[in-house]
């Protein structure tokens, strides 16, 4: 994939992000943060790839990266669910 393509994807995703996130009401801003936190755990994809690319050094860095990113994904989605469960109507 070339540079321009990938940059186009980035810019378009930014606009989509701005568009949908402005619609999140203030009352859900904390779950939004913890939820988007979980999504930034997508670095796990890179971490999985990293375990095999960089030789021994890469494996160690990849391992720590997998740990960090998994904390983000698992913890992020779980805590967001825990919070959202509490938002009730009358």
């Amino acid at each position: 994939m070339d540079m321009i393509n990938i940059f186009t994807v980035f810019i378009l995703a930014l606009f989509v992000g701005i568009e949908i996130i402005t619609k999140v009401p203030p009352t859900l801003h904390t779950p939004l943060m913890s939820g988007s936190n979980a999504i930034s755990g997508i670095a796990i994809v890179g971490a999985i790839i990293a375990t095999k690319v960089g030789g021994e050094m890469g494996t160690w860095l990849g391992l720590v990266a997998v740990i960090f990113a998994t904390i983000n994904c698992v913890g992020g989605f779980m805590v967001t669910d825990r919070m959202l469960k509490m938002f009730k109507r009358k």
Partner: protein, 456 residues
């Protein structure tokens, strides 16, 4: 041949977007979070099967350790500690991205200049997010002083570090026989994460956490550029945009620019302004009297602030709210955008205490209601209800949008002491004719008030 891996990333991205879209209402939000987590699962599985030569043992060990730690935090954390939790998770996200980029740096395959440049950027943003988030965590948890830490020459020092980072980054990209530049880049990026966060005071934390949230997304996107991976780029962009929007909302909530929050170090002891800091005399009162005032009211607006979170008084306030409702009064909660230590902090606390979300009103919705409000109860909030923000040009909070509690017939203010708020200024509201102060811990005060209301 169809590229199933990248196709799966597109699917994951679609699910992330749909998931966030469902966050537009509390009714669908939980569902949305589940959808996003399915997207993540798809992305992970697709990556795992994309290449038969994965080091599955290392990956499994990492995932198990990470899952245990993540689940432990997610289950154990108190709702009052949510800002710390988000701060530390931001840090892990940034750290993971930086580590992935670092692993790519050691990739024996000769990287292109573009590749090297994205590695440098990713390592810089990721490492800064990692250390900055841990300082933010430390401040919120009380390990590090919540007050701004400033010293002479701080800005100069930061400028020198920033220039050094640019130079080291450039050298890293140009390559060479040594890894020294790269290590230097890592160390200085870690250092500037610390030095940029320590001068920021407690009440400015909502901005800092939002900003670090944004950085963790930017770091993921930068890593996506390193790996030429659409999944990372789209997700990183979404998170980056989210953090940026929240940062902007928080800054507007304080009427300050981002630069002012980061470099302004507001919250230091002010050298008593123009010297004529007038002493205000306040009317101190009891919960019995407060109960009697409330008994005569029809409409009550409760204004929670950080003091409520500190006192863990969310359940106590709900009991008082319900008691008032059972006495036939209309009860609403007014939530300022920067109340607490992170965006939406108060809403989560009150949701935990089972306050229905329809009763929580944000600044724009509620400000018109104060004119017809009989009693406003201010709980551990200070600067966000200071009328000086409307008229006193010399006040550090001048221009900040505030909750117009002073327009209520009576204002009951609960505070622990007469100490000024975070911005270091006295609140003229406390001396107003229609204000009564009830001193004490928010939880104790509300519990007694609840009892007094029942005994009326």
């Amino acid at each position: 041949m169809i590229d199933y891996t990248n196709l799966s990333y597109v699917l994951a991205a679609i699910l992330f977007i749909l998931g966030i879209k469902k966050l537009s209402s509390p009714k669908t939000a939980r569902n949305g979070n589940a959808i996003a987590s399915v997207g993540m699962l798809i992305a992970i599985v697709a990556t795992l099967v994309s290449d038969g030569n994965m080091d599955y043992q290392t990956i499994a060990i990492g995932m198990i350790i990470g899952a245990i730690i993540g689940a432990f935090f997610a289950i154990k954390v108190e709702m009052t500690q949510m800002p710390q939790m988000v701060a530390i998770f931001n840090g892990f996200g940034g750290g993971a991205s930086a580590l992935v980029a670092a692993a790519e740096y050691f990739n024996p395959a000769n990287p292109s200049t573009f590749n090297a440049a994205t590695i440098a950027i990713s390592v810089f943003v990721g490492t800064l997010t990692f250390t900055g988030s841990f300082i933010a965590f430390g401040k919120l948890q009380g390990f590090v002083s919540g007050k701004p830490i400033v010293f002479p020459g701080q800005k100069m020092m930061n400028a020198v570090i920033a220039i050094s980072i640019i130079l080291l980054g450039t050298y890293t990209v140009m390559g060479g026989d040594t890894d020294t530049y790269f290590y230097g880049l890592v160390i200085l990026s870690a250092f500037i994460g610390i030095t940029l966060t320590i001068p920021i005071g407690g009440a400015d934390m909502p901005v800092v956490i939002s900003l670090l949230n944004s950085y963790s997304g930017v770091a993921a996107a930068a890593t996506g550029f390193v790996l030429m991976n659409n999944g990372l780029i789209i997700s990183g962009a979404l998170v980056g945009a989210s953090g940026l929007i929240l940062t902007n909302i928080m800054c507007k909530g304080m009427n300050r620019s981002l630069a002012n929050v980061i470099f302004g170090a507001v919250g230091l002891e002010q050298p008593s302004g123009d010297g004529e800091a007038k002493q205000i005399s306040v009317k101190s009162s009891t919960t019995e009297e407060a109960a009697m005032i409330l008994d005569a009211a029809d409409k009550v607006i409760i204004v929670p602030g950080y003091g409520l979170a500190v006192a863990q008084a969310q359940h106590a306030v709900r009991e008082v709210g319900e008691q008032l409702e059972s006495m036939g009064k209309k009860v609403l909660y007014a939530i300022h955008p920067v109340a607490g230590r992170m965006p939406g902090h108060m809403n989560v606390l009150l949701a935990e205490a089972n306050v229905p979300y329809e009763q929580l009103k944000d600044l724009d919705e509620i400000n018109g209601e104060f004119e017809t409000c009989d009693v406003a109860i201010v709980l551990g909030a200070n600067d966000v209800v200071n009328p000086a923000a409307r008229h006193d040009k010399s006040s550090p909070i001048y221009g900040m949008p505030i909750l117009d509690v002073d327009k209520s017939r009576t204002v009951i203010v609960n505070k622990r002491t007469m100490n000024p708020g975070f911005a270091g200024i006295q609140n003229e509201l406390f001396g107003f004719e229609n204000t009564v102060m009830v001193f004490g811990d928010a939880k104790d005060m509300l519990t007694t008030l609840h009892k007094d209301l029942k005994e009326l």
